[in-house]
Symmetry: C2
Subunit: 162 residues, 2 copies
């Protein structure tokens, strides 16, 4: 992990930017660890905001990232503003270091997650009840916000949740 | 690594899409391994096409991904079409599994890489000669192309290079 002294201290503006990034993103890049090599595996997944204000997603049993998360829950998410004109290098971006918690379909919290996901991502009605899909919540270890050149922040879970 | 039998066989159209993605991207998501935890670390980096037709980038000695690559060269790149309207989940995306080769500034190939990078990314003239920046080339193990629902291809290095 980068040394804390290379980062600025998050303030209310930082936390507002974090909230705005999380609430405006409809998909994120997910980095998991390949079970065979323990090297990074990248995919893009649909996301919605969970009851704690952090990203949640759905994964198919057929997807490689699902097997990866079942073997090792350590993962990272990159949350960026939705596609817009101009150089993506100049847009703020948030990386979350997490452990993924795959929610069994008989878990009592599934109904709450399903309602939230469907309300935020209406197109998910096409697959949300497929039996091979499960919700995934992320337990956040910490986050890094890159707010532009020279503006890097190390975030605690409390800077990220709402 | 996902099983080959879950993928379609790449053909000339597949390779043309790969070339188009690589040649139109100006930046990519880089996934490295955190030296302290061996878990994924995500960043976005500027890219240009190297003499073999694969992405190359520049890294600063101050950046966390540089320390990560120096500790373990295994990494992945996600190459997507530039920001555009519509749902990014429907856009083709290419993941490359690689080993990063950091090019020393006294390496004879630096001049070639510098010329190519500068020609493709003119704004890099602001930092391209900073002494703490070095070029990085990627030795590709394989690639995955997600061309939309049900269209996944496992690519050999020869499907990716030009």
């Amino acid at each position: 992990m980068p040394k804390p002294d290379t980062f600025q201290t998050p303030d209310d503006d930082t936390r507002a930017l974090v909230r705005s990034l999380i609430e405006s993103a409809s998909e994120v890049v997910l980095a998991t660890l390949r079970p065979d090599t323990a090297t990074p595996y990248l995919s893009r997944v649909a996301m919605a905001v969970d009851p704690d204000g952090v990203p949640m997603t759905m994964v198919s049993n057929l997807a490689h990232h699902t097997a990866a998360l079942e073997a090792n829950s350590a993962c990272s998410l990159m949350v960026e503003a939705p596609a817009s004109k101009g150089d993506a290098m100049n847009h703020p971006r948030l990386t979350l270091h997490c452990h993924a918690r795959i929610i069994d379909n008989d878990d009592p919290q599934r109904e709450t997650l399903r309602d939230l996901f469907l309300a935020q991502r209406p197109k998910s009605k096409l697959y949300i009840d497929f039996p091979d899909f499960r919700f995934v919540r992320f337990e956040i270890e910490n986050g890094l916000l890159n707010g532009g050149f020279g503006k890097a922040y190390l975030l605690a879970p409390s800077d990220i949740r709402h």
